[in-house]
Each structure stands twice: as structure tokens, then as C-alpha cells.
Symmetry: C2
């Protein structure tokens, strides 16, 4: 390639993560308040520019850490936004990811680059910086697909979960009620989770068996 062709210059890469949680039957997204221009004082998804000495995954981890204090957030690809004017100061292509974490993980409220950081219900997460409304919307749709084919929800339950808990989470994300008996059979059949030998008393009634997500999910062939 002609390295000096001006058409190649001044393109940057944003790595952006929609970090979700599910809290008491409500799905929420983690947003930060921007301290600097552009979009100063606007809320935005977590992310930032890719440095030239790191991979996309490293950049995403660094950005998540810088902006929230969180480490080890597992990320899943969502989509790409390359509209030319999506960022005002410089052409930026956004590579977008999805993460899910337990709301109990502590999050820094203030960092060098952000003045606040908080969970928002999706209905409240509007008018974000850049094109983050659109990116968040895509991520939310892709999350629905991810939960039936991956262990993306693993981080929500650091010490395992009972099936009724998991079912509520699925119902929240999928926005529909599910039959208890059929949910059990289907989720086990999907091969995403496994039993443990622990039980937990949830709300002081009959103890429920605890499950956990498998670490590796094998794909099923349809042909």
C-alpha cells in the first residue's frame, strides 16, 4: 500500500463496550459522563481510541479499566460502525463489543477522563455521546442472540445460580415470560450450563440446586 497516500491518513479506531447487568428484573447499561470535549458532560458507553501498540482486545481491556476500574471483563464482538462523520474531531471507526458483569462489582465513580460512572436502565440511556444510542441498540439486540449460544451471562453469577434466578434473567433480557419446566429442559439441553453440588436458599423457601456456566461451549451442527 502507498503509506503516504493522504486518503489513508488520520483514521482512528474506537473500541467501545456496552456493559450490561441485570438487577432485580431490570436490564441496565454502564455509562460514563465525559469530562472532556467532544461531547463534554454527555453520557457515553465505555471505550476510547486504540493505541498503536496494543491489540483491539488489549485496548478494550485498558479502556474498561481506565474508565471504570474493572478488570477481566470478558467481551464479545457486537458490530462495527464506520459512518464517516460519526466522530467530530477525527475520522473514527468504532469496533463494538458486549460485556456483562455482576452489578455488585465495584466501579470507580471518578477517573482521570470521566467525572461519573453509573448504571442506567435502557429506557434512560438515551441521547448519548457520538452514535452510542445506535451502538447500544445493536448491542442490546446482539445480547439476545449471545445468551442462547454462549456463556456471556457467566459473570452475572460469580458464585453460580439457581435455575429460577437464571430464568428471571433470561426473561428480562428476552422480554418474555417462559414456562418453568420447559425452561429447565431447554437450557440444560443447550449445553451452556452444568449442575454443581451446592444448593442455595433463595428468599427463605425451599433450597434450590445451584448451577454454573461451562467454561467452554461446544457448538452443535445442524446438518
Amino acid at each position: 500500500m502507498q503509506v503516504n497516500n493522504p486518503l489513508y491518513k488520520n483514521i482512528g479506531i474506537h473500541v467501545i463496550c456496552s456493559i450490561f447487568t441485570v438487577d432485580k428484573g431490570v436490564i441496565k447499561v454502564l455509562l460514563i459522563k465525559r469530562k472532556n470535549e467532544p461531547y463534554k458532560d454527555k453520557w457515553s458507553l465505555i471505550g476510547g481510541g486504540l493505541y498503536n501498540n496494543e491489540t483491539i482486545e488489549e485496548a478494550m481491556n485498558r479502556e474498561i479499566y481506565e474508565k471504570t476500574g474493572l478488570k477481566d471483563v470478558k467481551i464479545y464482538f457486537s458490530n462495527i460502525e464506520s459512518t464517516i462523520d460519526r466522530s467530530p474531531l477525527k475520522r473514527m471507526v468504532a469496533i463494538n463489543f458486549i460485556g456483562v458483569i455482576d452489578i455488585k462489582r465495584s466501579i470507580l465513580k471518578d477517573t482521570e477522563k470521566t467525572s461519573n460512572c453509573d448504571w442506567f436502565e435502557l429506557g434512560m440511556a438515551k441521547c448519548l455521546a457520538y452514535d452510542h444510542d445506535k451502538i447500544l441498540n445493536e448491542a442490546r439486540n446482539n445480547l439476545k442472540k449471545l445468551i442462547i449460544s454462549s456463556n456471556v451471562l457467566k459473570e452475572l453469577f460469580p458464585s453460580g445460580f439457581t435455575l429460577p434466578e437464571l430464568q428471571k434473567t433470561y426473561e428480562t433480557i428476552l422480554e418474555k415470560k417462559l414456562d418453568r419446566r420447559n425452561f429447565r429442559k431447554k437450557i440444560i439441553n443447550l449445553g451452556l450450563i452444568k449442575e454443581t453440588n451446592k444448593t442455595e436458599v433463595f428468599e427463605g423457601k425451599k433450597p434450590a440446586k445451584k448451577y454454573e456456566f461451562k467454561n467452554v461451549i461446544e457448538e452443535k451442527d445442524i446438518f
Copy 2:
């Protein structure tokens, strides 16, 4: 973001497409021979640098056209490669796609930037420029998933197909034999294709009914 931070500078984006076809029971990929450094005279996948006045999709279409003379190749996302030293002259992040076209579409053998362009069986498509071996391998795996959930194969059959033809194509891509009766039922049930009222005599025997891919595929909910 700090536009002048040197860590953000000099990153480029490669858009790369593994263009496949299936020809007489063999899957092939379209490669070009590079005219210029780096990797002069090496074979490579179709692609090149994103310009700062075009979206990713526009860049991909432009590159495919520049390097092969092909227009309207529909592309499907495959993966991203962001290893820091994957390109020698400049840091380049590769955004990789998959395309499928009919082998009968004519392809330019020589363009400004390439000295040759040809179809290769996958076993022969080795030692490519850059990290294209790895990218091609990913694309080939992702193609297997695409054919059961999208109309990616539509372009292989510009005037429709008979079910035996389609079955051979699936068998080639999936590398397994399929039962004729069950393939029929399953592929129709997937909702990817529809009947037409045409028939075709294929190899001079009983005429077979022709089908075509739907233009829009609706997704099925599993919960």
C-alpha cells in the same frame, strides 16, 4: 480524545474479503498476485486500505472492484485481526469479510495493482501475503455457519438452483454427505429458500424443480 497523542497515529484499516465459489464439487477462493511491495509477487486475498472518505462497506466494494472488476459482491462479516505487526510498513487492523460468487462471473486478470487473479482450491491457497492464511481459515469456518443462517450462497446461483445442485454445494462446503430426502425437508424448514415455477433438465434426465434464495431471511426465536 486527544487527537495529537502519538499513540493514536499511524493506524490504518485493511478491509479484506475471502471470495469463495464452489465449482464441480470443489470449493475455491479468489486470490490476486501482488504487483507491489510488501509481499510483491505473493498471492493474497482481495482487499486493501480504507480511505478516509468511505465507509467500510464502500471500501470493500471499491477494493473488490479495483482488484477483480467485480461489482455488487455481497459481503458478510467474518472477523477482525489486530495483531500489532501483522503488516510490515504500517500498523494495520484487518476487518475481514466473506463473499460468494458464481465462478462464471468474469474476473479481470490484470489491474493496476495486481498482475494476476485466479481461483485456487483451498489446499493450494497457502503461504499467502500478510496473515491471509489465518484470515482465510477463519473465513472458511465462518462460511460453514453462514450457509445455515443466511442467503450467502444466493450469488452462486444467479438463475436459481435445483435441490440436488444445492445439496452438492452444501456437501462440498460442510465436507459431509447428506441424505437426499432429509436435506430437502431440512433446507426448506430453515426458511432460506423458496420454490419457483421453473424446472431445469440437469444432465439430461428427469427435470428438477428450481428454487431460489429468499431475499430476506427471518430469524427464528429459540426461546
